[in-house]
């Protein structure tokens, strides 16, 4: 045999990372709305696969549910609102290219700089580690309400401060969704 050991974790990481990046580029380059949506789905789904690979099933499923499912609504409304002829295409103007390059490029610089400033990355842990954890929904639900039941016995008080649950993000998301709902209701009303 050529190789005695192949680290499947790294292989799949590289595979899904490559898919996510290349389809993200394809979203930018393509000018067909529905194809863009399809590329976006593939890219977001590969990011979900990366989450699954890291053993974060809940985040991965969330990614599929919210982002990939959200793209579905985007696709449906994009088609409904823009399709006058069959297979509509929206070319990107020169100004949009420049603006998008500035915003995207600066974000990329910040992310690359952050990634390089990390001293040493931890290697891949065994994927079985996630499966061996006891599976209970109540700690997750309590964490959403701001109590990290799984971290209550953390002895270091300074570390406990960092484990304050997810109440604030949860509330922000709820308010955000409420605003979207009110906006959608307003748009639907204004038609009459």
């Amino acid at each position: 045999m050529m190789l005695d050991a192949i680290n499947w974790h790294s292989c799949f990481f590289l595979l899904f990372a490559a898919i996510a990046c290349s389809f993200a580029v394809a979203v930018v380059v393509s000018s067909n709305v529905v194809r863009m949506a399809f590329y976006l789905i593939v890219s977001l789904a590969s990011v979900a696969a990366l989450f699954f690979l890291a053993g974060a099933e809940f985040v991965g499923a969330m990614q599929l549910m919210i982002y990939v499912g959200g793209t579905l609504v985007l696709l449906a409304f994009g088609v409904m609102l823009t399709a006058r002829g069959p297979l509509v295409s929206i070319p990107t103007g020169g100004g949009q290219w420049i603006l998008a390059t500035i915003v995207g490029g600066s974000l990329l610089v910040v992310l690359v700089q952050t990634a390089l400033s990390v001293g040493d990355w931890r290697g891949p842990t065994t994927p079985q580690a996630a499966a061996e954890q006891p599976a209970n929904a109540p700690p997750l639900g309590l964490a959403m309400l701001g109590v990290r039941a799984d971290q209550l016995d953390e002895s270091n008080p300074r570390r406990r401060e960092g484990m304050s649950g997810y109440l604030l993000p949860f509330e922000i998301v709820s308010v955000h969704l409420l605003v979207v709902l009110v906006g959608a209701a307003y748009l639907a009303r204004a038609k009459r």
Binding site: M1, L3, D4, A5, I6, W8, N32, V34, R35, F38, I41, A45, E57, F58, G60, A61, M62, L64, M65, V68, G69, L72, V73, L75, A76, V79, M80, P86, L87, A130, A131, E132, Q133, P134, A135, N136, A137, P138, P139, L140, L142, A149, D150, Q151, L152, D153
Partner: protein, 398 residues
């Protein structure tokens, strides 16, 4: 399994690859066999309901070779694509649908611990991945660049997006009663006599099952909710331009997702791999008795769960050939005015019932203690703390 194969295959990465291949092959065999069997069953059931015989000649008695014959016919058909179609999306759409409905089976346990990937949030994974099947339908409908197809796809989008909400709310009720999102643990929670099944837990779970049934039929796009392919108004909806092999892939996806929601129903409400009578427990067919007995017990569990799933699929066929198709406004009214309020009421009701059942404010709420507390207690008693034991010790079983 990878550890077991590593004894026979020399480099470990080959063993891992082989283990993954075996899992995939087994699931694929299950799904494809089920699709073939259900195609035949659909013909027979519809025939009997309409006072006909259904297929009788192909392959001798009962027309049991009808599905392979159908498959051959579909393979031999000319591969047509409309001139204006978006070729790439048109070709990809069926596979997208099938991948989504096949990937769901990764999380479904078919016996005590006979599951490809045991996830602590298996129910949620199921909902997230099952919701992706609609993409194939919408992309296929759009890429056909036909008005019938686009109408069908848009109806499907409206229907699936609205029915996902009550479906998720119904699924939360058994999850709340069992206290876990792990499908294997939900199955273990209902072991014993059929009185332990979650559908008989309280009146609210009983009603929740029927709301789940409605939403599941709607979410897999079956009659009376098959508006996306309503042949009396939309020719064949999103399937209008499809023929031959691609069409059959869409149909395999439909039958696979029917089986998937039925198996999920049997795990959430009907005891999963536990039969109505605990025969396996009496015969000692558990892993405590020995590996062979454990294997036989698992086999019995798989027979149980597949029987329940098949019964669910046959029930859906019965519905299809009994009820007339709803209009799109009736479909959305059913969802928004009936299913969502009912699911919400059942959720609150089941929550209060569980609260009172566990003794209200003075009850045993040890389930909310941290896992490490439980682990310390267990190690104090020198017990082997597997997840299932932690689950039992969490104060769930009375």
């Amino acid at each position: 399994m990878a550890e077991f194969l590593a004894d026979y295959l020399s480099p470990p990465w080959v063993a891992e690859l082989a283990a993954a291949g075996v899992h995939c092959a087994l699931l694929l065999a299950l799904v494809l066999t089920a699709a073939a069997a259900f195609t035949w069953a659909e013909r027979k059931v519809s025939g009997r309901i309409q006072d006909r015989l259904g297929p009788t000649r192909v392959g001798g008695r009962f027309g049991w070779l009808q599905s392979p014959a159908d498959g051959l016919k579909l393979l031999a058909k000319e591969d047509l694509m409309p001139k204006d179609a978006d070729a790439m999306l048109f070709r990809l759409a069926p596979y997208l649908s099938f991948c989504a409905s096949f990937a769901v089976f990764v999380a479904l346990p078919l016996g005590d611990n006979w599951v490809s990937l045991r996830m602590s949030t298996g129910v949620f994974f199921f909902l997230a991945v099952a919701g992706l099947e609609v993409f194939g339908v919408i992309l296929g409908g759009y890429a056909s660049s036909s008005k019938w197809s686009l109408f069908g796809a848009m109806r499907e989008a409206a229907q699936v997006v609205s029915y996902e909400v009550p479906l998720a709310m119904c699924v939360v009720v058994p999850v709340m009663v069992a206290g876990t999102m792990d499908l294997v643990a939900i199955g273990e929670h209902q072991s014993g006599w059929f009185g332990n099944w979650l559908i008989f837990h309280d009146p609210f779970t009983l009603l929740t099952f029927f709301v789940y049934l409605t939403c599941a039929v709607a979410s897999v796009n079956r009659a009376p909710f098959d508006l996306a392919e309503a042949e009396s108004e939309l020719v064949a909806g999103f399937l209008t331009e499809y023929s031959g092999f691609r069409w059959s892939i869409f149909f395999m996806a439909e039958y696979a997702s029917m089986l998937a929601v039925s198996i999920l129903a049997s795990i959430l409400f009907f005891g999963g791999d536990n039969g109505p009578i605990p025969v396996a427990g009496w015969l000692g067919l558990t892993h405590r008795t020995g590996p062979l007995a454990g294997y036989l017990g698992n086999l019995l569990g798989m027979v149980n769960i597949l029987t329940k799933g098949t019964l669910g699929v046959i029930f859906m066929m019965w519905l299809r050939w009994t009820l007339p198709r709803l209009r799109i406004d009736q479909v959305l009214t059913t969802c928004l005015k009936y299913c969502i309020p009912l699911a919400a009421a059942m959720f609150v009701g089941a929550m209060l019932w569980t609260f009172v059942e566990r003794g209200g404010f003075s009850g045993d709420w040890s389930i909310f203690r941290s896992e490490s507390d439980l682990r310390e207690e267990a190690s104090a008693e020198n017990m082997d703390l597997s997840p299932s034991v932690a689950h039992e010790r969490g104060g769930l079983s009375p």
